[in-house]
Structures are given as C-alpha cells and as structure tokens.
C-alpha cells in the first residue's frame, strides 16, 4: 500500500507492561502520544506513517505531470484540487508522525537520503491523459481499500488523520473513473489511450498491496497492535473483485489471460504481478525513481532560502515586539 513492507521493530519491554498495552488495544482504546507505548510500536508507526506521508508527497508528481496539459478548464481545476489534496494528506500524516517525537524536517531528510521509502506505484510514469483517469480509478481505488480500515487504527493521531483523509479522498477515485468513462466512450484514439493506461497500471496497482504476508511475523505483530488491519492478500483480492466489473463496464480488457471468476472461493483468480520487478522498483530501479527524488530534492534545496527568510523575519518581529513591551 502507501506503506508497503513496513518492518515492525522488535520490542523488549517487560511482559506485564506489554500485556497491559495489548489489553488496551484489544479493548478498542486509542493510544495517544503521551500514553506509554512499547518502543517497537512507536518506531514501527513512525516508519509506517512516514512512508505513507512520503507517498502522498511523491504521489503529487505523476499526476502533477498533467496539470499543465489538462484538456479543459474544469479538468485542470479538478486535477489541481486533487493533487493539492495529496499535499494536504501528506501534511496531516507528517503531523501525526510528529506526535511520536520526530520532526517533519527529519522525515524529509530521511526520504531524500533514501533511508525511508514511499510507495512503489509512484515510480511509474504518466504517459497519456488516460493515465490520470487510471491513477484515480486504480491507484486511489487500491489506496482507499487500505485507508478505510486504517481509520480504526489504534494510534489516535493516525486514526484521526485517516478519517480526514478518507473524507477528502472519496472524490478522487470517482474523478478518475469519470475520466476513464469519457475516454473509453470517446474517439478510437481515446479508447486506445484508456486501454494503454489500464495495461500499464494494472500490475503496478496490484503490487501496491505488497507481497503476500500470510506467514509474516512482522505483519502478525502489526495486526495485533492494530496498525495494520487486513492482510495484503485480503485487500488485493477485494481490489480485484471490485475492479473487474468496473473494467467490464468501460469495455476495457484487464491484461491478465488467467483472470476468471472462481465460484468456489467466491472471488476472482488472477495472476500475480512480477515480484522481481517490484523489488527492483523498491530498490530504486523503477522507471521514475531518479526523477521523483530529483524533483523532491530540488524543491527542498531551492526552497531553503524561502523557509529561512520567513523564519528570520518572524524572529525580527518577535524581537521588536519584546523590545516595545
């Protein structure tokens, strides 16, 4: 998902403290920043929320790639509003992470140095206008699968951020599908763009849920702590089952010859994505990793004088105010 392959941290506190903490979570209580928490819980959350926040910020780039080329004034406004929402979501999530004792600048530096990751999906390029539809429909669709249950996550600030995000996010997937409908029902070229977008985004969307984690110890710990709510496979299956009829409605073909309904399991059978490709993308070898990081680095470096200038002025004003009193 936006937070893929988050390793949970080992925790070494006394068993009775851990048991008490687990009991609070099992009782459905929210853990708040000033509450006692195992170090492993805190560190895992920083990693997960930070990765989620980074994904929102880097996720502005592939869609931002089309803001200046949106084909109508209304499409331009809608896309801009959507990419702006992503900046907002990144902001809420960074703030949630900050309650755990890490600053936003520290998280940003960890992203830029490669110590922290972001979702693999944003390392794929947006090559035609239908990609903007596909990103909304498939990528946001997959993200929502994960984010809706995370509203119930055990950490209060994370849960509250997710509630706000889900509320704002609900228009994103619909605007994507709306573009896909226009394209799929449009001229032959538009339909070809729509199919091309689906062909390129299908497997990367399935990768968003991460590799199968049925037997993962890390996942088990995170699920017990309610910072992960469903397994990767559950969510992936749900996503496929939801998306297949939507693709059919559009008259588009999902690029998987093995895709078929399985009556017995009450869901679709489908092909796994190429996991070796996934691991390469995570390692930094996706089609756009370098560009994405260059863009973030440039914004950070070239913005330094601006951030410092405003801070300097604020200090001057504060000093003048003190002097006047």
């Amino acid at each position: 998902m936006y937070a893929q392959m988050v390793k949970s941290e080992a925790t070494t506190e006394a068993p009775e403290l851990l048991a008490g903490f687990q009991a609070r979570i099992d009782a459905g209580e929210k853990i708040e920043p000033k509450d006692w928490m195992p170090e492993g819980y805190r560190k895992t959350l920083i990693r997960q929320i930070g990765q989620h926040a980074h994904s929102e910020i880097v996720g502005q780039l592939p869609e931002g790639n089309w803001i200046t080329r949106a084909p109508t004034l209304e499409r331009k406004a809608i896309l801009l509003a959507k990419v702006q929402d992503e900046a907002g979501h990144g902001l809420y999530l960074y703030c949630a992470a900050e309650t755990l004792g890490v600053s936003r600048d520290e998280l940003t530096e960890a992203l830029l140095s490669g110590r922290m990751k972001y979702s693999s999906i944003f390392n794929y390029p947006t090559l035609n206008w239908a990609d903007i539809g596909a990103v909304g429909w498939l990528v946001d669709g997959a993200a929502i699968m994960n984010q809706v249950p995370l509203q119930r996550t055990s950490f209060g600030p994370y849960s509250r951020a997710m509630i706000r995000i889900c509320k704002e996010e609900s228009f994103h997937q619909r605007q994507g599908y709306d573009i896909m409908m226009k394209m799929a029902q449009g001229t032959p070229e538009q339909k070809a763009m729509a199919q091309d977008a689906l062909n390129r985004f299908w497997y990367p969307s399935l990768m968003m849920f991460g590799p199968s984690d049925k037997d993962s110890v890390h996942s088990a710990q995170s699920m017990a702590w309610k910072i992960k709510i469903n397994t990767n496979d559950e969510l992936r299956q749900k996503f496929v089952d939801q998306t297949v009829p939507q693709a059919e409605y559009l008259g588009l073909t999902i690029p998987d010859p093995e895709l078929r309904w399985n009556e017995e399991k009450g869901g679709h059978d489908f092909s796994e994505p190429d996991w070796s490709e996934f691991f390469e993308v995570i390692k930094g070898n996706g089609p756009c990793n370098a560009e994405r990081m260059e863009a973030r680095q440039k914004a950070w470096d070239e913005g330094a004088w601006f951030r410092e200038g405003l801070m300097a002025h604020a200090r001057k004003r504060a000093a003048a105010k003190v002097a006047a009193e």
């Binding site: 702006q84 929402d85 939507q246």
Partner: protein
C-alpha cells in the same frame, strides 16, 4: 538555531456557531502566518469561519481523550465532492 518552522495546533469554529474544534496541526514561522496557512490547509472546503492557532509547544495535555474531528463540507468547489461525478450503478461501490 533550527530553521524548521514551529508546529501550531489549529482550532476552527464552523458556520453553525459551535465551539472552536481542534482540526490538526501545521508548520508556520509565526502566528499570523499560521492563521493564513490554516485557512489554506484546513478550510479548503470552507469548513470554518473563525481560526485559532496555538503553538504546539504551549499546549499542556492531561490524559488524552480526543475524539476524531468532524468537518462540514461546503458547496463552493463542487468537484471536491464525490457526488459531483455520476457513476453508473452497474460498476458497483466507489
């Protein structure tokens, strides 16, 4: 001295005269800019009419018992709302 902008807690009173409500946080160099940022970040859907900002460092917290915030959407930018887009029933929930 760190050049990271300090963190502020944002409280907004909606259009229905309810109390100011904590909606989240943000970074700003001083209080005035925090108010401007709050307007841009937390009232994109016209959720509020009055904004308070408080340096996060000035908050003294007892045992936490916050519930999640609620937000009143507005109609000024209709495309931000999912109902702006007509989705055929055949395609299922979205």
């Amino acid at each position: 001295m760190s050049n990271e902008w300090p963190l502020w807690e944002i409280f907004i009173r909606g259009q229905h005269g309810l109390n100011h409500r904590h909606v989240g946080s943000l970074h700003a160099p001083d209080a005035e800019m925090a108010v401007k940022h709050a307007r841009d970040v937390y009232t994109r859907r016209n959720e509020g009419v009055s904004i308070w900002v408080v340096p996060s460092a000035s908050i003294t917290a007892s045992s936490p018992s916050d519930k999640g915030p609620l937000f009143e959407p507005s109609n000024s930018k209709v495309y931000r709302h999912p109902t702006f887009f007509d989705i055929p029933e055949d395609v299922g929930k979205m």
